[in-house]
């Protein structure tokens, strides 16, 4: 079975490009060019050089001894938190800014949830001297103030999305509207493996450097690869080169919010049904009338009612397993990782750690957790929730 996108942009029944005609020329331009540009020697050379000298890749694969001891397995951490800007998001924005340059675009737009993708986009726009506008839900602007300030310092304009739940989904709507209104000079850097084809495949390819490195850094294959999923970009990057290695168990961890049995949750694959959101067919949280349900997670980066179509396909075809972790469990895991390994993880990433307690691990098991981002941006939430003041 193939876990890669087909020529029509589908992963099994999921994917595609359900775009308004208004976006057709933009998407067609990307569909026709993204692979050729990515494969060109000039792109490859600049992409890898920037990943090395600017982002700081390869990121280390670290054996977490105290966590290993606690859970009775070998636990390795892929240190994406050490990337420039503090998360894996920059792997994708480097790729897309080079693509935008090759396509002659002068203006860059992006959506952001936790602000990590917004910061990563503002960063590469500064690097390349391109105008940058980031759409961010009003609610996320409040809870991710440090990242808003970083984007502004980098010269980006941050525009609040004030409709709907005022979070990531609404920021995505606003960015798409901007693109409709500016179809010629603008490239939209989507931050996850969501949206119309070719975005899910394009972002997965740029993020696949994560699993490419893990494979080189490990002696043999791991037994588990674990990553958190909102839209699913860090998970897709961590899974990518293991998809055909069936003996590697792939686990995506989504945000259960207050619990999957409550209406304050973002556990899309656990609770959702097939539908079309943000121009691709995937699994999404919706009511019986097909209206999108507003999600909840303590983590702004996972607070999304959809998921990348490739993940929907990995779930349906049983290649990956998806688990859901509550806000409280994620907070507990964040404290544990901080105190056992001296690493404060992002709230998103903390979800991935929280499933260690639920897995039936053997001492010989080799577990890789994609440590997708650092927790600096979440200090306000940690201070409030953990009474750190």
């Amino acid at each position: 079975m193939s876990y890669q996108v087909n020529e029509q942009g589908f992963y099994g029944e999921f994917g595609g490009a359900f775009i308004p005609e208004l976006l057709y020329p933009n998407i067609e331009e990307l569909q026709e060019n993204y692979l050729a540009i990515e494969k060109s020697p000039e792109f490859q050379e600049e992409f890898h050089q920037l990943l090395k000298d600017y982002v700081g890749r390869p990121t280390p694969l670290f054996l977490a001894k105290r966590l290993s001891e606690k859970y009775g397995a070998q636990i390795w951490l892929k240190r994406e938190d050490l990337c420039h800007t503090g998360a894996h998001k920059v792997n994708n924005t480097i790729g897309q800014i080079l693509l935008a340059e090759k396509l002659g675009k002068k203006r860059i737009i992006a959506e952001t949830g936790a602000g990590q993708h917004g910061v990563a986009t503002a960063t590469v726009c500064a690097l390349k001297g391109l105008e940058c506008i980031v759409y961010m839900g009003e609610k996320d602007i409040e809870r991710q103030a440090p990242n808003v300030a970083r984007m502004k310092m980098l010269g980006a304009t941050v525009r609040p999305a004030t409709s709907g739940s005022k979070t990531l989904k609404d920021a995505t709507n606003e960015a798409m509207r901007d693109w409709i209104n500016n179809p010629e000079d603008t490239h939209y850097i989507i931050g996850s493996v969501v949206g119309p084809h070719p975005y899910p495949d394009m972002v997965a390819r740029y993020q696949s450097v994560i699993s490419e490195e893990i494979k080189k850094q490990m002696d043999g294959l791991p037994d588990y690869v674990i990553a958190c999923v909102g839209g699913g970009s860090n998970a897709m990057g961590a899974f990518y080169h293991f998809l055909d290695d069936k003996e590697v168990k792939l686990i995506g961890v989504e945000a259960a919010g207050l619990g999957v049995d409550t209406d304050k949750t973002a556990a899309t694959l656990t609770l959702g049904t097939p539908g079309v959101l943000h121009a691709s067919r995937s699994i999404m949280m919706q009511d019986k009338d097909g209206q999108v349900i507003e999600p909840h997670s303590i983590s702004a980066g996972l607070d999304y009612p959809g998921i990348g179509p490739a993940h929907a396909w990995l779930k349906v075809s049983d290649r990956a397993q998806y688990m859901a972790v509550t806000d409280a469990e994620a907070l507990e895991a964040a404290v544990e990782v901080s105190r056992l390994e001296g690493i404060i993880p992002a709230l998103e990433t903390a979800h991935a750690f929280s499933v260690l307690k639920d897995l039936d691990l053997k001492p010989t098991d080799r577990v890789v957790i994609n440590l997708s981002g650092r927790g600096d941006k979440d200090m306000n939430t940690y201070m409030e929730e953990l009474n750190l003041l």
């Binding site: 308004p20 798409m176 209104n181 999108v292």
Partner: protein, 254 residues
Amino acid sequence: MKNKLTELLKNKPQNLLNIFYTAGYPQLEDTTTLLTALENAKVDLVEIGIPFSDPLADGPTIQESSKIALENGMSIEKLFSQLENNTPKVPVLLMGYLNPVMQYGLEAFCKRCQEVGVDGLIVPDLPMYIYQTEFKEVFEKYNISNIFLVTPQTSEKRIREIDDNSNGFIYAVSSASTTGSKTDFSAAADYLGKLKDMELKTPILTGFNIKNQQNFNDACKYVNGAIIGSEFIRQITDVEDISKAATNFVASIK
């Protein structure tokens, strides 16, 4: 059952006025109040929006009306029952995003459209190739016209392809923009002139920018008619008598 839209368009008439509004706005039961007022005011066709939580192609005015309509309890089923009790006399189009239609079920949706007197559908996020492979057969079975959009960025080759696949009118967006977001109509004249010169077999209506009689008359110099949406919604917002507001607005245009 006859398709009122294809009947109307048979001889490619001119100066067609199409008014758009959102079902269930400003009040849940206003859908049919407005339909009756518009019929009495002699508009040529009516386009009713099915509210969606995430209307990507719409600007702030229609987004807001969708949000309020959903809060009022609007749904596809409710809309069908409203129309069933008030059979439209003018051609009626429904504009709705793909997801709610898919959740209702494509075949059930088209069947109900035909039963309640809906003649055509505009599904802005339904791409042409998906329409051709998955939808066309069902639309045709229930005699529903599918309306495609074209924009100034659409290539001539694709416009010809859309022309070949259309069985109602072509909806020409007068500037690349979400609904109601630009004010200047004059920029669209060049584009509409080019469309006119292509001598397509399908009639063309233009929308997304028409606010007043001047805009409407300008548009009708090039194409068969125009669609007014955001401006109409503004006209029926915060007024005491929506029927009167609707009637007065139509009288000011045509």
